[in-house]
Amino acid sequence: MSKINELFTNKLNVINVGIENFRDDLLKQNANVTHLEWTPPGRGNPELIAALDKLEDPSVTDKIEAANKEAVERIINSQPVLIGFDQAINVVPGMTKNTILHAGPPITWERMNGPMKGAVTGAIVFEGLAPNIEEAAVLAASGEIVFSPCHEHNCVGSMAGVTSASMFMHIVENKTYGNIAYTNLSEQMSKILRMGANDESVIQRLIWMRDVLGPILRDAMKLNPNGIDLRLMLSQALHMGDECHNRNVAGTTLLIQALTPYIIQTNFTVEQKKEVFEFVSSSDYFSGPTWMALCKCALDAAHGIENSTIVTTMARNGVEFGIRVSGIAGNVWFTGPAQQVIGPMFAGYKPEDSGLDIGDSAITETYGIGGFAMATAPAIVSLVGGTVDDAISYTTKMAEITTTENPNVTIPMLDFIGIPTGIDIQKVIQTGIMPIINTAIAHKDAGIGMIGAGIVNPPIEAFEQALLALSENIK
């Protein structure tokens, strides 16, 4: 039977695009209808539509699909394992005594926002390069400090992302593809360097982390011959109700549980070990950076695949939001203005106090957790509008702009569907749906710290530029 004659005999099942009344009339007649939440592709910009058309030409589509398939397979098959801790100067590629890494795409001292300037000056004092914050600011402006994005050194940094030579780093190795990713240790608490605070208490904590916490973790992991399989642990944490960007309760417990047998075997005093455990239990964020390094490690393995339209980095420096895409190798950033994060704030603060979106932590959403996995963390739905349904719809919505689901990291509430994986630039521009990021809010001024948390979307401009570049680049 021809397809047209099949249509005559089968029950009508319509996809309705555009006028909503047509849907209502079909429902009155007991037909099945799916009404699309449709918006003009590329916001109706003819240049972008032409680029989409070019990428959707059958001869091109096949290449892109193959490239994207490889990219997401690499993300999914990556097996990031925590293999140790060490100081940045010893392990991070390109690190020097006067280098300061920061979050997001490249930025100069002059253009940095309050929290990042606060963190940079704090780090300069911590490194002993200047005696106080005022002189640190002078040094930062002098050109003697090298500023560079974490991402361009195989690193990711929370919030301001400020990472200096003597800070201790996670070392995460991708057992499948061999690449390594690094990230700083969590400072816990809210009045901390990465949020822009830099007073004496902040510096003292950094010193303790350098002299006690870091070395204990380093020595502990030296006793662990196999490392810690982070992806396995991440899967468990998701099943325990973390989305592993803003909620890290379960993940922190699992991580410290895995570290404890080794920590207690190190040659430090019981008092020092106790300090470590108390520090970890002082907030739930201890494993936050760990997941970021896992995500970075997996996504780096998928970067630089010719013709791939998959996003491999989303990061913000507090002024600009930048992305990198797999099909354009190296450190080519597509940027747009950083947005304001909307969400609940600590008592006493108002939205106008908040600094713009900042940090490399959007690497978690790039991988498919955080805002993308909200459905798995009903405990923190207040971040995204309040209801469990909202949380679920955030996750199902993200499946519209991603390539596949990661079968290795699943969401119980959605019948063990894998996390949405592989943000596809084409789908973002086609649908106008922006990735959803849940993140912390730092005060706009230096020296204060965290004042809330909420959700934010990237600026669409970054994705539009990336699409145009991809359409020109396509082979």
Binding site: I4, L7, G18, L26, N32, L36, W38, I49, K397, K427
Partner: protein, 515 residues
């Protein structure tokens, strides 16, 4: 017995899910025993205890998924692996249960609802071809409601549809009935044995409504879009539609509705009619009888005639039909009321084909008939805002719909024009259509009513009779309540015509002078 092992490296499934998967796997008929587990030491111990350990399992890592199947033969093991793989992926289907999933693209909607078989596309014309192409690529039949789509895009889309064996209705297609479901603008009509392929929206609606009134019914109404029978498009969808209806067991008679096709296309259509095993009624507004008859088709000059021929061919008993012939005494009466200078008809239509039909009926007796949709340039209105002699206006035409909803939804433009025409002392008759059905205004007569009452009163005050004819396109099944619409119209002092054809004939006859 054969034991086979499949190790999926780096694949994590949590232990609870694995237990339920294992249970299901063991229920597969051909499976003697199955284990699905991560390659942990503990699981290996279990596997050892049940005697299914192999070197492959031994070397599996904690992060590897191990599937072990014991079955009667190697072949059966393979089959079991397939079934287990299905179990591993199947869980995804049920997850879309309770909360309604919202899709933003056709592709994701099709992935989510694989039963989808048709897309209605009603977005701005500059985006519409892209969406239609996506729908076709996803094997959906398409009803492309949007206008302002280029003929190049139309040809490309219809060619693609033809290659894929799909319907591509439109662009600018407002009417279809598929499997007794009305799409966009269509009337609620009985199910029956007459199939229609229509390049004219309201023309097709009129034929379905008349068939319904004659007691007949519809199998399918396939809208092709107005340009389908142009030289460039070549009638791709009308030809495909005829073929499909010919192969459709439920369809006994086929009706074609269109404006006259381009000559080369007409030839193709007639050639197909000649070969068609089923009777074909052809109503091409202003068409040529001889050619149709030669091709073995049944020619209809007007809409009601087309419907009548169709129901008779479909088996209706002619003696039992109410054909609603013209009210001749009424014609005499109205002629007597109109002054000698009240010579002209003004047709104000929301339906394009209804306008065309009334205009062609007028053209049979008058040669000064003007319109915004006249084919002859010399009879096309120079300024669509100014009427001239006999004037028929299709308010659904592009000049009136730029940035506005169709007059079948928004009657405001037509009301303004009506007030203007009613003041013209050379006007004898104003004829209007009121379209009911899905998609249409909920009370089209009511919207026009105050203007009609006021105009009639004003004319009377000036000592002239203003004749207003209203035709209401609809059935008693339509939601607007056709009885109520007719009553409202009659209460205003207007004349009610029982069909599009009769509306045209009455309007013409009322203003004929000196016969």
């Amino acid at each position: 017995m054969t034991v086979q092992v499949l190790v999926k490296p780096n694949t994590y499934i949590d232990s609870v899910s694995l237990m339920s998967l294992s249970t299901k796997a063991n229920q597969i008929e051909i499976v003697e025993q199955a284990i699905i587990a991560m390659g942990t030491e503990m699981n290996k111990e279990v596997i050892r205890n049940v005697g299914l350990m192999t070197p492959e399992v031994e070397s599996a890592k904690t992060s590897d998924l191990v599937i072990i199947v014991k079955a009667a033969s190697e072949e059966l093991c393979e089959g079991a692996f397939e079934s287990i793989n299905e179990l591993l992926t199947k869980k995804k289907d049920s997850s879309k249960g309770k909360s309604e999933v919202k899709y933003s693209t056709i592709t994701s909607a099709v992935n989510g609802t694989p039963e989808a078989n048709l897309a209605i596309i009603a977005v701005n014309g500059s985006y519409a071809p892209r969406e239609a192409r996506k729908a076709l690529e996803n094997n959906l039949h398409v009803m492309l409601f949007s206008d302002n789509v280029s003929i190049e895009d139309e040809i490309e889309l219809k060619t693609l549809a033809q290659e894929k064996g799909l319907l591509m209705m439109g662009p600018d297609c407002g009417t279809a009935i598929i499997g007794n479901v009305a799409l966009c603008f269509a009337n609620a009509v009985r199910k029956g044995n007459i199939g229609i392929v229509g390049a004219s929206g309201t023309g097709s609606q009129e034929v379905t409504v008349r068939i319904h009134e004659f007691g007949g019914g519809i199998t399918q109404l396939i809208g092709t879009g107005g340009r389908d029978l142009s030289e460039e498009v070549g009638g791709i969808m009308m030809l495909a539609g005829i073929k499909a209806l010919e192969e459709d067991d439920a369809t006994k008679v086929i009706v074609l509705v269109s404006k006259p096709p381009a000559p080369s296309v007409e030839e193709k259509v007639l050639a197909q009619i000649k070969q068609c095993k089923k009777p074909v009624v052809v109503w091409f507004v202003g068409g040529n009888e001889e050619k149709v008859t030669q091709a073995g088709g049944h020619f209809a000059k007007m809409s009601k005639e087309a419907a009548l021929k169709a129901v008779l061919l479909a088996g209706a008993d002619e003696s039992k039909l109410n054909k609603r012939t013209l009210n001749l005494p009424l014609i005499e009466e109205v002629r007597a009321k109109l002054k000698p200078q009240q010579k002209y008809i003004r047709g104000l239509f929301s339906g394009g084909t209804l306008c065309d039909e009334a205009m062609h009926i007028a053209m049979e007796k008058f040669d000064n008939v003007y319109s915004n949709i006249q084919r002859e340039p010399e009879y096309r209105l120079k300024d669509v805002r100014v009427s001239q002699d006999h004037t028929f206006i299709d308010f659904g035409d592009d000049q009136f719909t730029q940035g506005k909803p169709h007059p079948m939804i928004d009657p405001s433009t037509r009301i303004e024009r009506f007030i203007q025409e009613a003041k013209d002392p050379s006007v004898g008759v104003i004829v209007m259509d009121f379209v009911l059905g899905f998609g249409a205004h909920e009370d089209p007569v009511g919207a026009m009513l105050p203007a009609i009452i006021e105009a009639k009163q004003a004319a009377e005050d000036e000592g002239r009779h203003l004749e207003i004819i209203g035709y209401i396109l609809g059935t008693e099944l339509d939601s607007q309540n056709i009885e109520g619409q007719i009553n409202k119209l009659l209460a205003s002092g207007a004349t009610h015509a029982s069909s599009s054809q009769n509306a045209g004939l009455l309007a013409r006859e009322f203003v004929v002078k000196g016969e």
